[in-house]
Symmetry: C2
Subunit: 603 residues, 2 copies
């Protein structure tokens, strides 16, 4: 197993050369930070990734969580890591200082999260869930809830989770049936079942704090009757002692990958003694939960890109040392074999991997930048960044998730038969990353969100803002001769995207919503390709500028910038053209999949 799982150089490039994270420190909210601080975050996170997380990657896969009596046993590194996350302030990183947080910009917090996920995705989830759950309590919970739960979550002693899915309600949250019965004592009595809840019971922490959707007894049907509750595994008794809160683990899933983190089935209230604490107002639970869901979606996009990164470096290293074959121009079989990285087809596969990894990371950083700017802006500006973030969240979740699978698979292919065997980590990455298009909303759900909601929200203003953002980048690229042809290609693609969108919205206007949304997944795919092309053009601008005068640059920096340029060219040459077929299909809306009867699948 190799050494490298993510490129520090690339993280610095995104932070400082593309998104100028330091400029955020001009705003009072982030004024206590500095580039030195950001560098320290990166370096410390790399140390944790290298020394603690990456070495246990394979072990955690081979020794998955087990049910030990009434609780779930996980790898001991989970406890060590969670304590480290508490002490190092990783869980509270983006929380406001007045709440004990670090008030770090999200675009900087993106760095440790990306590093941890690349080193060991399963391990990183414990941190992410706790951080996101504490943020949800912080945003909408009462002072009592905040005081009771947040400090122990920030310290890494207590795990946070998001508990949405139920046996009869997977993608259909409207059908959530867990019941919360009001009592006179301020709490609710919870009864129900949850399935597929990541990290919802384990011995790496002292308690688990589930952020749970449920229906207050008598609430209206559908999403309008869903409320949000804090339902801890152990509640705090009158004297501060921890009391079992009648949540039982009724099952542990045996998963294809992502095995370092338990996914449990929970049963609440078997002894009629499960207490839940309402967050915010009744029936507004889904709206609150969207904060955590949207944060989790970006984190999942990042996790997918991070696994693809680790796979890329594993393939790259193999391709540099594995000797096989000769140049096609070499006819003498007695000459020595060459490293396979010298074969054009292998370089093509590596470029595909790299283009997915670095394109995805850039898009996710872009989203975090919008998120930070939304925090520090006011009025129109605030709305602008919020809308851009909202519009792009399904794309930033789904493109990396879907493409990570293909990218890791290509990486496995580079190793040939060895890629298929567990001596190398590729087969694990291949299994691990398959979760991403499923959890936090399937790709189908995100397609419907993007086309059915986001492109039309606020009369299409979010889409308009997105087009402006892309055009701004095209403008900047056109000022550089080397980038002009690519800028033109992106301009063409963007126009076609507008054409497709208009065509589909016409169908919506005709009133056939099912036909309108039938190919929403393809629309999302198209949107993803164009968005990533934009991110590559955005990266190419500082790269070209740097390459104009390489005096004073180190050799590795020059190689890095050249590599960036080739990967950029690869994306425009090989990936962007995939938009063509999608556009053709999307313009030919014929309702095929709506019209076909289920019975025709009979044989």
């Amino acid at each position: 197993m190799g050494e490298k799982f993510i490129s520090e150089r690339n993280l610095r490039f995104l932070l400082y050369e593309v998104f100028d994270a330091v400029s955020l420190t001009r705003y009072p909210y982030y004024a206590d930070h500095s580039r030195e601080m950001f560098d320290m975050v990166l370096e410390t996170a790399m140390r944790i990734g290298k020394d603690m997380l990456y070495p246990t990657l394979g072990e955690m896969d081979k020794n998955p969580p087990e049910l030990a009596g009434d609780h779930v046993k996980v790898h001991p590194v989970v406890r060590t890591f969670m304590r480290e996350c508490g002490e190092g302030g990783w869980i509270s990183a983006i929380a406001p200082m007045e709440r004990g947080g670090q008030q770090l910009p999200s675009i900087v917090n993106f760095v440790p999260n990306g590093i941890f996920a690349a080193a060991n995705y399963s391990a990183s989830v414990y941190l992410l869930l706790t951080s996101e759950a504490s943020h949800l309590i912080e945003s909408f919970g009462s002072d009592e809830l905040k005081e009771t739960f947040i400090p122990r979550m920030f310290s890494g002693e207590w795990q946070g989770t998001m508990a949405l899915t139920e046996p009869q309600a997977g993608s259909s949250l409207a059908d959530i049936a867990t019941v919360a019965e009001p009592t006179d004592e301020g709490y609710y009595r919870m009864r129900g079942q949850k399935i597929f809840i990541s990290g919802s019971d384990h011995d790496g922490v002292d308690n688990v704090v589930n952020l749970m959707l449920a229906r207050i007894k008598g609430a209206p049907a559908g999403v309008r009757g869903i409320s949000l509750f804090v339902v801890p595994k152990k509640r705090v008794g009158e004297n501060g002692e921890l009391v079992f809160n009648d949540i039982n683990v009724t099952g542990l899933y045996h998963k294809l990958g992502y095995r370092g983190c338990p996914i449990n089935q929970l049963s609440m209230g078997e002894a009629d003694d499960c207490r839940g604490y309402l967050v915010g107002e009744p029936h507004k639970g889904l709206a609150y939960m969207f904060q955590m869901m949207n944060a989790a979606r970006l984190a999942i996009g990042l996790g997918a890109a991070a696994i693809a990164s680790a796979a890329y470096y594993a393939s790259l290293e193999y391709s540099q040392v594995r000797l096989q074959g000769r140049r096609m121009t070499e006819k003498d079989p007695a000459t020595p074999q060459i490293p396979i990285i010298e074969h054009a087809d292998v370089k093509r596969m590596l470029l595909f991997q790299r283009s997915v990894v670095e394109g995805s990371l850039s898009l996710i950083a872009q989203c975090y930048q919008y998120s930070d700017l939304a925090i520090v802006s006011e009025g129109d500006e605030k709305e602008r960044y919020s809308l851009l973030l909202d519009l792009l969240t399904p794309v930033a979740k789904s493109y990396p998730s879907e493409m990570s699978i293909l990218s890791v698979s290509q990486g496995l292919q580079i190793l040939g038969g060895y890629g298929y065997c567990d001596e190398f980590p590729l087969e694990q990455y291949y299994r691990d990353t398959r979760i991403h298009p499923i959890h936090e909303g399937t790709t189908g759900i995100h397609g419907t969100t993007l086309l059915g909601r986001n492109v039309t929200m606020k009369d299409g203003r979010a889409l308009q803002l997105f087009l402006e953002e892309v055009q701004k980048t095209i403008g900047a690229a056109e000022a550089l001769d080397e980038l002009k042809p690519s800028a033109q290609k992106l301009r063409d693609a963007l126009e076609k995207l507008q054409g497709v969108t208009a065509h589909l919205l016409d169908i919506a206007k005709e009133g056939n919503r099912e036909v309108f949304l039938a190919d929403a997944t393809l629309y999302l795919e198209l949107f993803g390709i164009i968005t990533i092309a934009w991110q590559w053009l955005l990266q190419a601008v500082p790269v070209q500028k740097a390459l104009r005068n390489t005096d004073g640059l180190s050799e590795t920096d020059v190689a890095f910038y050249h590599g960036k340029m080739y990967t950029f060219r690869y994306f425009f040459g090989y990936e962007l053209p995939k938009a063509d077929g999608l556009i053709r299909r999307l313009m030919e809306t014929d309702g095929l999949t709506v019209e076909m009867k289920a019975a025709y699948f009979s044989d």
Copy 2:
């Protein structure tokens, strides 16, 4: 776990309605056969698949082969199945009657092989390897070799293998280093290492017969110095007893999937007592081996399509019973949920799966038909069918192999979280089918074979014959109004394929072979999409004819034909347009991946 893994109806459709397998019985070589016989083959194979193979699918995955002292222990069903294969004549099915075979057309033998692979891919490999290895001995071996080995292989007592790969020679067969030293006693003394050899040691048989490539001491370097040997695990002693032949299993690979079949590392001649028996003439080994390799390549295409078939039916069944969500037009959350197959996006995913499965099966059947016709034809006709088979083999291997991964992944997606867990077989299929683009030549190798060798062989005659075949189908489809628009689409795509081919051959003429072949993998992908579109149009012709008058057809038959039409339309609507992006890329040859320096991947 469901019941169905393959559609008998579809197999009959291909055999009788598309490829008219019965017409082969007009040739003397196949005259002893009949439709009744073919039906019996299908029914018996389905029984074995259902009763013996499918029930052990999960068990064999969960209890993979282990090294037990000096041999490999496999699931007991392997022995039962191999004996059944012997008794039922499955191993000898296509062998000539004069050799104890059944002289069955390959297009009919395709049926049991497809059924067994869909029921349990790992199990099917034991049969296939033995059948293919015995065929190789039968074609090129001496009478003594034939008499010694073939009967025990046909009976399923002895396993056949193909032993090519070595640590330093994966895709590069020119670098094979296993040495065969001649002796005065008619045999060769073998010394060397082989890796990744499927089925090369196990206790489901009494002996293993390795068909091994090696280099006779002093042979020229490169592929011109490779010879073919029979190297059994146990050789036959003077009194007919079995004597250990100094082949040691030095390792067993732990694989992502395909776990029911051991893949071993072998060491020959550690005690200097490993005997090999030359097949045919010295230094012609690779040419002989290509017979087995090409047969194995079609079998792998079939195996990939078969796993995709099993995955398709598992997803289909789930989608029919899993209730989730409501029609998009239904606003009342109190109405009952619907089966997910009613959602257009789920139908789209199922259609994708079905289009890959049935399109691939059709192409493989087509190849077997060419193979049968080559056997019974003479002169130009024989060459014609041989060239078509040769041209299409890399396509019939690679399209199903690559697309099976995507198709199974889509099937897993339909099950959401459940698809990721081992309660359902999707996660196993996802692991199992990942082997296919790797073994028997990676996809990259097949791209180079297609573009670098096949399209130009015999002055481009094979390609010309292929174009004629497709045009014949287009002509037949154009006679049916309903198929005219699709026929035109295929005509356009075919013209573009010719344009791309001409463009690439121009580059070859300019002498830059590396640039010419840099995107050969993409060329193969393009060729695959167009070839499968052709096979869908070919299927649509009898389907349309059947739908013109449905009187007298059963309801299930009518549903089957309608399902075929929708899947055909799906392929032309959603899959064929993917050619656009590939064409755009292939026409823009810029040598990007040739030109980029390996050092630019440094960070």
